[in-house]
C-alpha cells in the first residue's frame, strides 16, 4: 500500500476564520476514507484544497504524489469528483453530459463514446441516458454525477456530501455503487456529516473546528468509547427509575422508556432484570455509535445544536 493523499500541517485562513488548523492526514491506496464532522468543521475546505479548487494558506498537501499547488493540472487529470450541489448541464442529455466531461479530460471522441457506454452500463443508468437532468430524480442525478466522475477512470474519487438531500433508498443505492467502485480498486475520499454514511469507510477521520480529532477504523473508534446504552420498558418506569437511581446507575426517563448508560451493558442488563419486580416489556442494548465517539472527543454532538448525548441517542432510537 502506498499513500494516495498526504497532508502535513495544513492550514487555511479565511479573512477572519481559521478553517483548518494544521491538519495531518494520510489516505492509503484502495481504501474508502471518510471525513466525518459537523457542518462548518472544515470538511469542504479540506476537500476543496485536495481537489485543487482552493489553495492552502500554509502546509503541504500531496495528492497522488503531486503537490496540490504545483501540479494542479496533473492531479485534475487523475481525480473524479461528485460535488455537494448538483453540477450537471440541465439542457444536455445525460449521455452528452458524460461525453462532455470525457472531452474535457482529453479523451478522444471514439474512446469517450466507449467509456460513456461503459459507465452507463456499470451504474445501470441506460434507461435515462437520453433524458436531460432536469427531468431526472435526485437519486438519478447523483448516479449520473457519479458516472461522470468516473468516466476518465480516476485513481482517486472525491465525494463531497454526495448524498445531501437524497431519500434513504436513493442514499443506500448510491453507497452500494460506491462500494462496487471501491471493490474494483478505486481509492475513495468522502466527506459527510451522516455517521451512518461514514460507516461504509475503511477508515474515518473525525474533524471538528479545523482539527482532526481521531483517525481509525469505525470499529476501533467505537471501541475507544467502550460501554453502551440500555433501553428498558417496564410496566412501571417511574418506580424502576427510582430503583436504578438508588443503585447509583446513570439513568433517565423519557417517552421511549428508560435509558441507562453503562461501561458494560451486557453484564448490567441481566443483573437489572433479575433484581426488579416489575414486568419488562422491552430490553435492548445499543452499542456505541460514531456519534458517541465524536461526543467523547469534542464534547459536542455531530448534529449541530445538540449537546446532550442522551438526547441524541434517544433520537437515534426514535429513528
Amino acid at each position: 500500500m502506498s499513500a494516495i493523499i498526504e497532508v502535513r500541517n495544513l492550514r487555511k485562513q479565511y479573512d477572519e476564520v481559521e478553517a483548518l488548523k494544521g491538519i495531518d492526514l494520510t489516505v492509503e491506496e484502495g481504501e474508502i476514507f471518510a471525513l466525518l464532522g459537523p457542518n462548518g468543521a472544515g470538511k469542504t475546505t479540506l476537500f476543496s484544497i485536495l481537489a485543487t479548487l482552493r489553495k492552502p494558506t500554509s502546509g503541504k498537501a500531496m495528492v497522488l504524489g503531486k503537490d496540490v499547488l504545483k501540479h494542479r493540472e496533473q492531479i485534475r487529470q487523475e481525480i473524479g469528483i461528485v460535488f455537494q450541489e448538483p453540477a450537471l448541464d440541465d439542457r444536455l442529455s445525460a449521455r452528452d453530459n458524460l461525453m462532455l466531461m470525457a472531452l474535457f479530460y482529453g479523451i478522444p471522441r471514439k474512446e469517450a463514446t466507449r467509456r460513456a457506454n461503459e459507465v452507463l452500463d456499470l451504474l445501470d443508468i441506460n434507461d435515462f441516458a437520453n433524458r436531460a437532468p432536469r427531468k431526472l430524480s435526485g437519486g438519478q442525478k447523483r448516479k449520473l454525477e457519479l458516472a461522470r466522475a468516473i468516466i476518465a477512470e480516476p485513481k482517486l474519487l472525491f465525494l463531497d456530501e454526495a448524498t445531501l438531500g437524497l431519500d434513504v433508498d436513493a442514499r443506500r443505492n448510491f453507497w452500494d455503487e460506491v462500494k462496487k467502485l471501491s471493490e474494483k480498486g478505486s481509492t475513495i475520499f468522502l466527506t459527510t456529516h451522516y455517521m451512518e454514511e461514514a460507516e461504509v469507510a475503511d477508515r474515518i477521520a473525525l474533524i471538528d473546528e479545523g482539527n482532526i480529532m481521531a483517525v481509525d477504523t469505525p470499529r476501533a473508534l467505537k471501541e475507544q468509547v467502550g460501554g453502551g446504552l440500555i433501553r428498558l420498558n417496564t410496566e412501571d418506569n417511574e418506580t424502576v427509575l427510582h430503583w436504578l437511581k438508588q443503585q447509583n446507575l446513570e439513568a433517565e426517563h423519557s417517552k421511549e422508556g428508560l435509558f441507562i448508560i453503562s461501561n458494560d451493558p451486557s453484564s448490567l442488563l441481566p443483573s437489572i432484570l433479575s433484581n426488579i419486580e416489575q414486568k419488562v416489556t422491552r430490553a435492548e442494548i445499543r452499542q456505541p455509535s460514531l456519534e458517541d465517539v465524536f461526543l467523547k472527543l469534542t464534547g459536542r454532538s455531530l448534529k449541530n445544536g445538540e449537546s446532550n448525548d442522551l438526547e441524541s441517542e434517544k433520537n437515534e432510537w426514535v429513528k
Binding site: P86, L88, L103
Partner: protein
C-alpha cells in the same frame, strides 16, 4: 486544445436545443431597423430608404453587441448551478475555458448577424463579393471583442438576476454612443469625444465603411483599437479564470 473545442461544442449544443432563441434574438435589431429606422428616417434629410441603409451596419452591431454579451450569461449561470466548478476541476487549462467562452459567444453573435444579412437586399443593400468578405471579417472582429467584454464582465458576477441588469446599463449607452443610428461627423463635439472611448463605434464604422466606402475613423485606427481592446479583455478574462480561488 480539445478542452477549448469542448467548451464551444457544449454551448452550440445548448443553442441547438433551443433554436427559438435565435429567432427571438432577431426581434430587437429588426425593431430598430424597420420601426425606429423608418420613423426617424422619414424625418431626416436622407429620407426613409437611405436612412435604413445607413443604420443597417449599426443594427448588425447592435445584434452582435447584445448577443455576444448575453451569451456570457451562461458563465454566471454555470457558476450559480455549480457546473463551472465541475469544468474547472477537469484538466482543462483556464485559458482554454476563457477563450473557448469568448469564441462561443462570438459564434453565436455571428450566426445572429448573418441571419440579419438576409434582410439587407430588402432595404436595397446589395453586397459585392469583396464587400461581403470585408463586412463579415469586421463582424467577426467586433463579435470577438464584444464577446470578450461579456466574458470579462461575467467572471465577476455570481447572480443571473444582477448580470443582465448591469449589461443593459452598460450596453445601451455604448450602442447609442457608437454612431450606429446617426453620423458622428455631425454630432456635438462632446459626443464625438466620448465616442472615441467606445469600442462599438469602431466596429460600426468598419462595417459601415465596408458598404459605403468611406470611414469616419482611419481604418488602421479602428483595427488597432478593436484588436487592442479585444486582447486586453481576453487577457482579463483569462486572469480571472486563472485565479482559481473561491470559485
Amino acid at each position: 486544445m480539445q478542452g477549448f473545442w469542448a467548451v464551444i461544442l457544449r454551448d452550440l449544443k445548448r443553442i441547438w436545443a433551443e433554436p427559438f432563441r435565435l429567432i427571438s434574438g432577431l426581434a430587437q435589431p429588426l425593431l430598430y431597423l424597420f420601426l425606429l429606422g423608418s420613423g426617424i428616417g422619414a424625418a431626416t434629410q436622407l429620407g426613409g430608404g437611405q436612412y435604413l441603409q445607413y443604420i443597417f451596419p449599426g443594427v448588425v452591431a447592435l445584434s452582435l453587441l447584445f448577443t455576444a454579451n448575453f451569451a456570457a450569461i451562461s458563465i454566471v449561470f454555470d457558476r450559480e448551478i455549480g457546473f463551472l466548478k465541475a469544468v474547472l476541476v477537469a484538466p482543462v487549462s483556464r485559458p482554454s475555458v476563457a477563450i473557448g467562452k469568448v469564441c462561443s459567444g462570438a459564434i453565436q453573435a455571428l450566426v445572429q448577424g448573418v441571419l440579419l444579412l438576409i434582410f439587407a437586399p430588402m432595404i436595397g443593400i446589395y453586397f459585392g463579393f469583396l464587400q461581403i468578405i470585408l463586412f463579415v471579417i469586421f463582424m467577426i472582429l467586433s463579435g470577438l471583442v464584444f464577446s470578450a467584454m461579456g466574458v470579462a464582465v461575467a467572471t465577476n458576477f455570481s447572480s443571473t438576476e444582477v448580470f443582465p441588469v448591469v449589461l443593459n446599463a452598460v450596453l445601451l449607452p455604448m450602442f447609442f454612443l457608437s454612431g450606429a443610428l446617426y453620423p458622428l461627423k455631425t454630432a456635438p463635439g462632446w459626443l464625438q469625444t466620448l465616442s472615441y472611448v467606445d469600442p462599438v463605434a469602431y466596429g460600426v464604422d468598419l462595417m459601415r465603411g465596408s458598404i459605403m466606402g468611406t470611414f469616419y475613423y482611419p481604418e488602421w485606427l479602428s483595427l488597432v483599437v478593436l484588436c487592442f481592446v479585444g486582447f486586453i479583455l481576453i487577457w482579463t478574462a483569462v486572469k480571472v479564470f486563472e485565479k482559481g480561488e473561491e470559485i
